[in-house]
Symmetry: C7
Subunit: 93 residues, 7 copies
């Protein structure tokens, strides 16, 4: 994964969503009946955090996040999501 | 209960809901007429808390939480809920 | 009153509601025309409070609280309410 | 006025409303056209305040408060109102 | 202007509205087309302020305030308004 | 511009709107299609700010502000707007 | 890019939107199906920030921001947007 030339501001995180989301390599299956289906992706870039709130996730982390969090952007042909760290539920692995 | 490879962020808690919820081993019966029926489960993973707000629950605690708190995820064939600690009412035992 | 094996989290309080609520032993009569009729009960368990907000009520206190505060739970055959301390109006006696 | 066995919590105040509210001894007349008619009463018990917010009113103060503030309770045959200090407009005298 | 026996609480201010409000002695004319017509009056009593927020207006100040701020009360035959200092726009003179 | 006898409270600013608002001397043209058309005016009086929030604009500054910010008042035959500093977008020049 | 005579207040940023927004020089393509399409522009002027919140973006930065953030203004024949720094998602490059 090459360095990306996008620097998220404040508590924002740039995430590259995983291709297959119904059954992933780490074994998470997203149930159909979930109210808010969590999504999985890889952290590509991380902001510097807010005053007194340092960031927790790091570039390379695989994260779970809510379905409706973040804004889609396409950069050099790749789809990304940019979201606030508070929209991330957990780090996998 | 094996170690799980999911690390909740901030004040989030990963809970494995108890199988039988109308009558549990510890004797709690969920009344039918309750406005918001509390649910019971076991804490599987705990975040590091927020700035100046350390976490109270520990892995292994049995907890009561609201019916509509948390997001369902399935991991290695097991159903979990991920919620904020503020959605947990009490620890049993 | 035996020790109960439920530990409320943060600023939550476990209350056992009084049986007779229209006329109690201490002489409080709940008027019919009140917009929000206060209820009376005994504190059974108390959380550790929040950061910089210690708890005021103690186990054994008789308290007045709002009609719509708290969540009902049944434990070992007894009905309880779990509520935040801010939902409690006053301590009697 | 005998000591009352009700201790309001935090920033709450127990008030005994004045009997005659259209024309009082201190000469306040509540106008008919007021959007929110202030009420008058005597402070009977006062909470300990919140963190960093000590209480201002004292037992025995005559106070003006909004019509819709507070919750009615009846204790030993007397009608009281329990309200937050922020619902009190002014002290008379 | 005699001393008044009403002590506003916290950040509240007691104001005696000016009699003529379309054309005053200091020359302010309230336009008909204003969305929220400011009113003018004299400060009669001032609270002690809130923690870390001392009061700015003084007894005797002529103030401009919003039309819908404050609660009307009548005391010894005089109409007053009681409002929060934040409802006052400016001091005249 | 003579001294004005109005002292805005806290973070409020008294502004004299510019006469011509579609094309001004400094060359700003307000587009017709803007969702919220900014307005331009001259600062006439400034409050002392709030605790820990000193004021930025000064008397004499030309400012841009939102169309729906502020309250209209007329003083000695001149139309003014009184608004909070947070309603001001930028200083021109 | 000449110096501009507009000084944004507090945490506001003046941005000159990029001309072509469906395909830019740096290769970002805005997808049609995005809920909120991010826009791209160049920072022209930056406020001094708020108390304890210094600014992150600098004049000359190329930024991504939400479609509905900011207010349009036209100055010396150029269209600008004025927005809060919190409305900016990321800096490019």
């Amino acid at each position: 994964m090459a360095e990306i030339n996008l620097r998220p501001l404040a508590d924002r995180v740039l995430v590259e969503p995983s291709a297959a989301e119904t059954k992933t390599a780490s074994g998470i299956i997203i149930p159909d009946t979930a109210q808010e289906k969590p999504q999985q992706g890889k952290v590509v870039a991380v902001g510097n955090g807010k005053v007194d709130e340092p960031m927790t996730v790091k570039v390379g982390d695989t994260v779970l996040y809510g379905k409706y969090g973040g804004t889609e952007i396409k950069h050099n042909g790749v789809d990304y999501l940019i979201m606030r760290e508070a929209d991330i539920f957990a780090v996998i692995g």
